[in-house]
Subunit: 325 residues, 2 copies
């Protein structure tokens, strides 16, 4: 398990590279939620999502000779960009396996950051593991897993260090912290940081309807999986199951999971547009959706929600804005 | 004239109220511009634009008895919200005169902040000055002018204090600073702050085509005005002429003005969406447009541009995104 010391060490390696993103608020959002709401704006992180924290953390923890050989990652987009940008900054090769139906912006960005993008057809049943393992062995690359990877979790945990500091600056000691949750890297990292630094905060993972493997796993006490393909509006957080490292961390530190609908996610994106002037992707808006529309399921008091990413195609964003008219 | 001491005093009054907005960047934008580009993200300021700085500065400088009587402002939208929110925080009345064709979001927000909004028909020739002076006298309100107002200029200048500090943190000492310019409140405030704290920075005002009163005034050495109505895409920066206080400050401290087209403004908004995950309104994107598309007219070296506001209606934003497809 990753502890607070690993997170602090990751933060030290990130100094001057990873952005300290702002904790924002709006009286309009407070009114909708009926309580103070604070947003951790990870859309403003380098590469447009918190995933750069984990990517940088993982690459900076490798010994230089290993790192120089290059890295490989599997990702539908945000982890891809986080690892690609970290590799670009270190000047080492990166190979990224992405599903061919990932958002076009995410594929284009990953490629523009100098990574070699290998597309695979997930609908057609191609196994990314088989393709990836062949490339990895042939070229001597180091695999950077998207969430079940200790140094990635430590990197995402640096977001929790900042939340603890920024909440204290805002005079908030006791709060519910809602995280956008896929495999649990961000959630377990933040929860570990807050358990050490702000023990009166309770972290609760938020997932989209139909992909609530973490909520069900927490409720049942063991890892359960989603059925069906990992395709939907909230691409960034559609994972089959929590990780073997992240799940016990979430069991130890988190409260029950929450589930939001796609309609709530779209409404949350429109509120972030109008009230925060932020572009949030669907998967990055699930926690805000829970803060705004699921207050009944939350303890009283302030809420802090992560806006975990903003890599959404312009066409989809325009369509979601238009639906709100 | 307002000096650095006035700006520092305004910053002291703003402590804990006005947000220190981040200075952001993206390698993608650097590549388009062919130089390092830094963006001062005032869209993240309270009320979605830098105007809250000036509104808070003006109200906080009034003696409490005068302030308690209430304030009045004329504005197409961002100054309206800045003054309305400052008045709300102080718990004093605010009357805001707005043109009936101002963006719907700006009118709705101003009203939601507790201000009494009085609409006038500018196309029909109603004189806002006559309407406003009547209300002001009857109720004993203090007029807060949008730019030609010493304490408003001092407030906008606090943005320049932050630019000086943040640029130094980023290792930038010499740069061109591009400002979104209407009547010159932000431009003159920033230029005054930088002249004192970062004298190797040159401030250059940016305006939209057809509304380049400041550029022409600076070139001719005296105040000249735009013809025609103040209506266009970039509503936030469409003023008839620079102010009698702001113009001499800009003459003393600024380089020549720059002019951008509406097409360039829209492209800049799309780049801010894709690369910075920020919602920028047309008038708030003129400086970024100059940074990206008018490099030929700039000295070599880094550019810092203000993203001065993000209060754009969803329908217009969606349309501008769609035009980029």
């Amino acid at each position: 398990m990753i502890g607070i010391d690993d997170i602090r060490a990751s933060a030290a390696r990130a100094e001057g590279v990873v952005r300290r993103t702002p904790l924002l608020s709006s009286p309009f959002l407070d009114e909708i939620a009926g309580r103070p709401v604070f947003l951790k704006a990870e859309v403003l992180q380098h590469t447009g999502s918190f995933k750069f924290r984990g990517g940088w953390s993982a690459l900076s923890a490798l010994d230089p000779a290993t790192r120089a050989e290059g890295v490989i990652a599997y990702s539908s987009g945000n982890h891809a960009q986080g690892v690609a940008r970290a590799a670009e900054l270190f000047g080492v090769p990166a190979v990224i396996l992405m599903p061919s139906d990932a958002p076009a912006l995410k594929i284009a960005n990953t490629s523009a950051m100098g990574a070699e993008v290998v597309l695979y057809d997930r609908a057609g049943g191609e196994s990314r593991e088989e393709i990836g393992q062949d490339i990895q062995r042939q070229r001597g690359l180091t695999l950077i897993r998207p969430f079940d990877e200790p140094m990635v979790i430590a990197g995402q945990g640096t977001c929790g260090l900042e939340i603890a500091e920024q909440a204290a600056e805002a005079g908030v000691e006791r709060a519910t912290v809602l995280t956008c949750c896929g495999g649990g890297g961000l959630t377990s990292g933040i929860a570990t940081a807050l358990a050490a630094l702000a023990p009166d905060m309770q972290v609760r993972p938020v997932e989209p309807e139909g992909f609530d493997d973490v909520a069900r796993s927490l409720a049942s006490g063991g890892i359960v999986t989603n059925n069906g393909p990992e395709v939907g509006l909230c691409d960034a957080v559609l994972t089959r199951a929590p990780g073997e490292i992240t799940f016990p961390m979430m069991q130890t530190h988190c409260g029950p999971g929450l589930v939001v609908t796609d309609a709530e996610v779209k409404a949350a994106m429109r509120h972030a547009f109008a009230r925060l002037k932020l572009v949030v992707e669907p998967g990055g808006a699930v926690a805000l959706a829970a803060a705004l529309f699921h207050g009944d399921a939350l303890e009283e008091g302030p809420v802090i929600a992560t806006l975990s990413g903003g890599n959404v195609d312009a066409r989809l964003f325009a369509q979601i804005l238009a639906e709100g008219d």
